[in-house]
Symmetry: C2
């Protein structure tokens, strides 16, 4: 249960504080906002939230208990009672608990839920967050985009996305050697929606996806929720000799790969491997889902061309995103695929959210066509390069005896491999207690001595302070 | 197949036009954009798209046929050939056709697909479109909102939505008699996403939803795609005596209703009926899904309070939207529900699209707190009232002998009931040939002599011209 962030008792009211709190909680229960069986926050948490003494909370809760609204349950704490609203009649309340446990979509992985929550608390040093620091995001450029809104529509967006933006993406992809018309491009609300649409639009239940191991896909439940299995292809290696066998052993529908600045390893696949992979998949007529959300973030030299640029058979579904470069708040990504595939996916997108925000589409199209995208990316490349080198120097200083790692040539991540197996969940919890948020390797597969570090989010001061503390915590084991 | 909107042959090139078109189409086929079996547009369409004589197209197609890229198939037209790319080796192309027919999500209803397409062609008079005319949308107010972007974040949105916007919605709902804290509110990308999240997050496969008949729900496939059945409750009537029986007969999970300015009928449920419905559902512990996207659009007097305001048991899931008032392009709506339900839905939203655009959330929060929302709604109420009365006068003049209707007290729609059964699909097609787009009643249930008219979108000139032509077409039957 979260505590209401808005409501506060009034300090100088004629009504005593405990009475105000009593009334507020009773109202939450009557209205059904706090349903039967729901666990109240602890007395300590309530006192902090309402900025009152703990004794005031104790008074209020005692009154609520006396009046039959709440009860203490051994091992559960204080919960809302059964039949509180109308104890003499039959229970007229919907059984929400059952509803919450229904539905085909799986809940997020527990640790991801905890990470999502911790990310929104202040004073946390986020060592694993895969996004640019807010200070690196182009807010002023976005504001500029709205200085002239003649081309801005507030009507229903087109299912495939605004033509202006698709045209801009088509031009942007040409520079990567990908020649697709705006009709083969579809705008989505971030790369994750691309995966979601593919999972419910193109794949059968009980089919399988081949993934690299480790893989970002293991940290999300998108495909599993659609009844699709994940088959790890190559354990930490980068060979594709196993594609044919894996394809035959499983009812394989797709191969998912992030060849450029892989999440979580930072690995960049060399061109020979790319060609090997394309050929192995063409031989099996196995489509490839290429996730290229980090491709623009090269730090030393441009990476090899995307698989899609080398694809001669229309076998690659290519997913890109503005989240890693312009900011995830825009919720703009794209898919390119053969036209009939795009038509199918756009039809489903229309049915599930009626298209992406026209404000976001408008702003991104502007930045991609007025030169600001290039200006911005040049700036963040310099910033990221500095941050990467800074983190590498910190690692050499504090982690040399406890871990190994590779220098990434782009993207956000360093894949730290600990020399000793330690209980990662315990490390995660202890670090959180010290105000440090890490992404344990176990989120990405069977990697229990790895940590995904990111140099993109935390400030340099935070990175230094956080990494020193993390090294100390690891050494405690 | 759509024709590429962007590419055009160069008129003064040294390369003949037909050769340029040959090269372009060949490139589409090689790249896989136009896959094997794909039907090319007609010669007439190609000639129009590329602004050349039909004979130029004939030349280009003949060359492509001669070179084995395309072939004519009896009854199908011209299609891309099997194995064109590499006729001597095994086919390395993915079998996209099978993929497109896979996936759990159902395709949109054929007629809705046609409507969606026709809506984006110009010179069409849209007599059924459920959205404000672009001229009535507050583009300047949105632009103003970006004049000061201090509170704008481009980082990952919170799963439930930005706190500022949830706070604004909480205040907005208070004026409707709905008292919910920001924690019981979740921002979604339009009301349709609310339905989508509920379908995959709260309901079991093979459960059923009770709906009014006719109902907007029949025009979308959101629930059906999640394996949920639709049970029409009351055939064109507004009685709820059948709730208990229907609930027992089916594995009923929810009752869906639009009590205020119903889509498609425009009906506004009186308060006594609202109380009757709430009691019937409370008796059965059946949650209600209240769709209130039209509530602010009253034209004569404010409507009765929403069901959610009368709900004493937390049994109502309440869905609202900014689409009908501020513009669907924003893709901002909201759900209020008991907190644990909101937590479940927000978790799924995070997994499927990572939250709604922060640009849209920011802009809507601004308009809802700086007074512009009220200014705007006052303006469009006046406009809509005038349009409604204008359409009612046109109907009296041209439809009195062929149809009956009620005067709606708000919303966008007039539910035209034809006095004679006529083949609606044929009328739909004929009207489209005359440049008039209508929404036949059959989209909303078993209503084969009804048409949903909207006075919100087309201009007054278009409404007059379109309705006169529509009356004439109906009289032809």
């Amino acid at each position: 249960m979260t505590i209401d962030d808005q409501w506060q008792p009034i300090k100088n009211s004629a009504l005593p504080l405990y009475q105000q709190i009593y009334e507020f909680i009773r109202e939450q229960i009557i209205s059904g906002n706090w349903p039967v069986g729901y666990k109240l926050p602890s007395q300590r948490e309530l006192a902090a939230a309402y900025q009152v003494n703990r004794s005031t909370i104790v008074y209020a809760l005692e009154e609520l208990k006396a009046d039959g609204w709440i009860e203490s349950q051994v091992g559960r704490g204080t919960v809302v009672c059964q039949n509180t609203w109308s104890p003499l009649t039959a229970n007229p309340r919907a059984d929400w608990k059952t509803y919450i446990q229904s539905g085909t979509h799986l809940p997020n992985i527990q640790m991801i839920q905890e990470i999502n929550k911790a990310e929104f608390s202040s004073h946390i040093i986020r060592l694993g967050t895969g996004e640019l620091s807010p200070s690196l995001l182009p807010t002023a450029m976005i504001q500029d985009a709205f200085a002239e809104t003649a081309a801005l529509s507030l009507s229903y967006p087109e299912g495939k996305g605004s033509f202006l933006l698709r045209q801009a993406v088509s031009g942007y992809l040409q520079k990567k050697g990908i020649f697709v018309s705006p009709n083969s491009i579809m705008i989505v609300s971030g790369a994750i929606q691309a995966l979601q649409l593919i999972s419910i639009g193109l794949l059968d239940q009980d089919s399988a996806i081949l993934t690299e191991s480790p893989s970002y896909l293991n940290s999300i439940m998108v495909f599993q929720s659609a009844g699709i299995r994940m088959v790890p292809l190559n354990n930490g290696e980068h060979s594709f000799s196993a594609v044919s066998r894996a394809k035959r052993q499983h009812n394989t529908a797709l191969l998912y790969t992030t060849p450029t600045f892989h999440n979580p390893t930072g690995y960049c696949m060399p061109e020979t491997k790319r060609i090997e992979l394309l050929e192995a998949c063409a031989k099996e007529r196995l489509p490839i889902l290429e996730d290229d959300v980090y491709g623009d973030l090269w730090l030393d030299t441009p990476p090899p061309a995307p698989l899609k640029a080398l694809d001669k058979h229309g076998n690659v579904l290519y997913v890109g995103s503005m989240s890693k470069v312009l900011g995830p708040g825009l919720r703009i990504g794209f898919i390119t695929a053969p036209e009939p595939v795009i038509e199918r996916l756009a039809d489903i997108k229309m049915q599930t959210d009626y298209g992406s925000s026209t404000l976001s589409q408008f702003a991104v199209a502007k930045l991609m066509t007025n030169g600001n995208y290039e200006v911005h990316i040049e700036r963040i490349r310099n910033e990221l390069r500095e941050r990467r080198d800074f983190v590498l120097s910190l690692l050499s200083k504090y982690f040399a005896d406890i871990a190994v790692w590779e220098k990434p040539a782009g993207g956000f991540y360093i894949w730290l491999s600990l020399k000793k197996d330690i209980p990662l969940l315990l490390l995660f919890r202890r670090a959180l207690q010290h105000g440090i948020l890490i992404n344990p390797g176990s989120l990405y597969g069977n990697y229990h001595s790895h940590i995904r570090l990111s140099y993109s989010y935390a400030s340099k001061e935070e990175l230094e302070q956080g990494l020193i503390a993390l090294a100390a915590l690891i050494k405690e084991f």
